[in-house]
């Protein structure tokens, strides 16, 4: 599979070129356009596997869809264009064993061999991280496409690193984060507009997004006229 990410970073879409019998698993509704030699299979689990009902339910809790779409090329050199709902960037991550923990709605697509599941990060993080209650956990080897609200920037963490709540896209399983206050005093942290932040610890790749959907909503909401 070849990939090309177009129109970055504001309105990115991923153009994938599939050879015969190559497949990719995508988020429901991600397909924008495709060649005629591609077939679509919809399941609640991994491609070709039976069951997956509970996995589907868990995925729903993490902000993803109950179903997954598997696109398979029946002919050589087939093009599939996929994109996210929100305006923003797409990034390709090469998963080499282990897993990638992805924020609720940031998973866009991945190789069929990668298992997509939901994971719980604990109460404190569920309440204060500004992300969903559950996270998507992608395990295996292959390509993953992530999407963000705004631009994505990548950080190789070795030691500690701080990200504001609501700006995490994904992080490798070798990283762990804790919710801490931004400043020395809790009141100062909130007055400064930063409040609580996520402090990462460990070694691994971290993807952050430049914008944060809840804050954007808060800014926009009061200016909308009631229907």
């Amino acid at each position: 599979m070849q990939y090309e990410i177009l129109a970055r970073p504001a309105a990115a879409v991923a153009k994938l070129t599939l050879e015969s019998n190559e497949s990719i698993t995508c988020e429901v509704g991600a397909m924008i356009a495709m060649s005629t030699g591609i077939s679509v299979e919809t399941t609640s689990g991994m491609k070709g596997a039976s069951g997956g009902f509970f996995k589907g339910l868990k995925r729903m809790f993490s902000g993803e869809n109950f179903f997954l779409n598997h696109f398979t090329a029946n002919q050589p050199n087939q093009t599939l264009i996929i994109g996210p709902t929100m305006l923003g960037d797409i990034v390709h991550h090469d998963l080499r064993g282990g897993s990638l923990v992805i924020q609720g709605s940031s998973w866009l697509a991945s190789d069929v061999g990668i298992k997509i599941d939901a994971t719980w990060q604990g109460f404190g993080k569920a309440i204060f991280s500004g992300e969903g209650l559950f996270w998507v956990k992608a395990t295996g080897e292959g390509s993953i496409f992530l999407n963000s609200f705004g631009a994505i920037y990548e950080v190789d963490v070795d030691g500690e690193y701080i990200v504001d709540t609501g700006h995490i896209v994904a992080f490798e399983d070798t990283l762990q984060f804790k919710i801490v206050k931004a400043g020395a005093s809790l009141i100062g942290s909130f007055l400064g507009g930063e409040g609580l932040v996520c402090k990462f610890h460990g070694t691994g790749k971290l993807y952050c997004q430049s914008h944060n959907p809840p804050n954007f909503g808060k800014l926009l909401g009061p200016n909308l006229k009631p229907r």
Binding site: S99, K137, T174
Partner: protein, 376 residues
């Protein structure tokens, strides 16, 4: 047992494409060895190991060189145990301190969670009962017109227990009793309205706002008009003490409490009218019944009607009770009459002596009219 176990994990090193690769980890006599999926071999001697724990799951073990250039990591639950057994003493100590640190962090999180939950629960329950208490206290601030509205809607919507009696002799007799009692009601602004209903039930009730309904069964059963006045004084006391409003409050609790706080009585009236369709609005708690007895006795005393007539009415019903198990509805909603007779006598004893005057009612004539109506 060296080399007996292999674990799935990974390696971070700059020589690996992308910096990271999955690996098979082995614990040997002097070092931790890793063979990556890219066929690269790495090794860290136990004496050079720096340990850390973390990862997304919180239980991933990192084995690093002092300069952090090479990291071997593993999430396998058996790995820390094997490392403790196979590695050096220093390593075992390092591992124990790292694990201890993680545990105390996890414990402090749990502590915060438990304390936080407890505080939330206390605030929730405290707030709920506090609000109810404030709402109960603020009942007196609700205008009488709300009682009147509830009473009016309830009266219009409920099925009347029998045909209305308009006979002036009977109605005026009841009105005379109410007229004697009314000036002694200690709630100003309440005006009572009398309705007599033809029903063999020995019953009477007063809706919020002062609508009194008297059943002919009660009039027939009573030996004297003072006994009826005694029952009426008790029922009027429910309206005076605003027990109906309290009943509505208890039924809807917090919602009405909040509405009252913001000065909205619409919900109160609507629910009152709804409760009024059934007997729910006129069935009160035992505390309310006792309060109505005491208020009734004071009113009778002030109106110069002998309160003992009410006690004698109870005694009469008590004696005849078993013969009229269904008909005496008033008693079924007013239990424990022995206790109540005692309450009446006890309250009366506290009051100054009073010269009682009989009611200006020709009771024989009333009884005669009741018989004639039955014969019609």
């Amino acid at each position: 047992m060296y080399g007996a176990e292999e674990f799935e994990g990974g390696v971070f090193h700059e020589s690996i494409v992308g910096g990271r690769a999955s690996a098979t980890i082995e614990l040997t006599a002097g070092s931790v060895k890793a063979l990556t999926s890219t066929d690269q071999k790495f090794e860290i001697r136990y004496s050079e190991c720096v340990l850390d724990m973390g990862g997304a799951s919180g239980r991933m073990v990192f084995v690093r060189t002092q300069d952090r250039k090479l990291t071997i990591f593993c999430e396998d639950r058996r790995f820390p145990k094997a490392l403790q057994l196979d590695g050096s003493v220093e390593l075992a100590e390092q591992l124990a301190s790292v694990r201890g640190l993680r545990r105390s962090e996890a414990f402090s999180w749990r502590m915060w969670l438990v304390v936080g939950t407890a505080v939330c629960l206390v605030a929730l329950f405290g707030g709920y009962y506090g609000l109810l208490a404030v709402a109960k206290a603020s009942i007196n601030a609700v205008p009488i017109s709300v009682d009147e509205q509830i009473g009016k809607l309830a009266f219009e919507s409920r099925t009347v227990e029998g045909p209305k009696i308009n006979d002036p002799i009977i109605v005026n007799a009841v009105k005379e009793m109410v007229a004697r009692l009314e000036p002694h009601a200690d709630l100003k602004g309440l005006s009572f309205e009398v309705h007599v209903v033809n029903s063999k039930d020995v019953n009477a009730y007063c809706l919020p706002g002062g609508k009194i309904v008297v059943f002919t069964g009660l009039l027939k059963k009573s030996k004297t008009p003072e006994q009826v006045a005694g029952v009426l004084s008790h029922e009027m006391s429910h309206a005076i003490r605003r027990h109906g409003l309290r009943r509505v409050m208890e039924s809807l609790g917090i919602v009405v409490a909040i509405e009252l706080m913001v000065g909205d009585v619409g919900g109160l009236v609507a629910l009152g009218a709804e409760l009024g369709k059934s007997a729910a609005l006129t069935s009160y708690s035992r505390e309310a019944e006792t309060e109505a007895d005491i208020t009734g006795v004071r009113m009778l005393h002030a109106a110069a009607i002998d309160p003992l007539e009410l006690a004698s009415f109870f005694e009469m019903l008590k004696d005849e009770g078993p013969e009229f198990p269904i008909a005496i509805k008033w008693l079924s909603t007013h239990p424990q009459h022995d206790e109540r007779i005692a309450t009446i006598r006890g309250e009366l004893a506290k009051l100054p002596p009073q010269e009682y005057r009989e009611l200006d009612i020709d009771w024989e004539k009333v009884q005669q009219r009741l018989k004639e109506i039955d014969a019609e």
